[in-house]
Symmetry: C2
Subunit: 198 residues, 2 copies
Amino acid sequence: MSGTPRRPGRRPGSADTRGEILTAARRVFAEKGFDKATVRGIAREAQVDPALVHHYFDTKEGMFAAAMQLPITPQEVIPLLLEGPRTEIGERLVGMILRVTASAETRDPMVALIRSAMTNEQVAAMFREFISNALLYQVADRLQVPHLRVEAGFAQMFGVLMARYVLKLEPMASASHEELVKLLGPTLQRYFTGDDPN
Amino acid sequence: MSGTPRRPGRRPGSADTRGEILTAARRVFAEKGFDKATVRGIAREAQVDPALVHHYFDTKEGMFAAAMQLPITPQEVIPLLLEGPRTEIGERLVGMILRVTASAETRDPMVALIRSAMTNEQVAAMFREFISNALLYQVADRLQVPHLRVEAGFAQMFGVLMARYVLKLEPMASASHEELVKLLGPTLQRYFTGDDPN
């Protein structure tokens, strides 16, 4: 497998190669969980050179996001959060989550992943490791906020997305982004900047 | 079916009768949803007199809670919420939800219902109607809080229970009630008493 393509699209079958890597990645992530899966192991499963995997995906996190068709990677979220004034981080985060989940096309794969995590312990473990290690702990450590507070914010937005898109509770399901940012922004702001010791 | 027993336990088979009513209730709730299900329809399905259903269950809400093995009925929750100072309603509500869900025995049937609501649209509709009409709207109207704000509080606690007991995110899963009340109480307090127009 040496001489792997450097430019996708130039070599016939390279689109398939990417797809085969993602299929292998889904299998390996499901089996090993997020933490124990390795680029090398995924390359072996896909029967390609690890360099080819790196060619398509910069990081394991990016590969997980692509394999699960997540609309956004942790590497994209974290800089957005850190950009702009800290005093508006709550509103910024709520707005971003609502925008990213606004279209069914980007939302459905995420909801599908959450559904399987709710009913399958193996998927739950994989999702837990990804959410904790690749997302929440990174955000917490970059912002120097205790993990529990970041998880409280995650829980708020997780609940809102479930109430809005899965349970379809009204008026939550029809509320505008603006209303929700106003209502939920201060909650996340307090978790991320509140100065009580929790 | 006239001459139905007034005192359960006195007539052989009355324990079964209650069980049969609940089985019928589960069937009717699943089929019709919470709103359209009637005590009369459930009695018909169970082939018993409606008076017998009323003998075992005061209300449709109580019957739903029993059928789904929910640990607490809306009729029990609402007075507890209204009792005591309004300025502590957030902490009171968080504490109550954590206590009621603390043991696997009371929690598991609720988690099972949520799991099926997440994956089955018929169960989702039933759950939505019950949660909205029997619980959230009642609380909102009794406390004169906009429905959206009560749903934001529901979403926060729904997310916390899912993160704690289904996804088992750490440190959320191991956090003490005291820590969580301190962290989440002010969020619910703001939703229930905040004076911004949402």
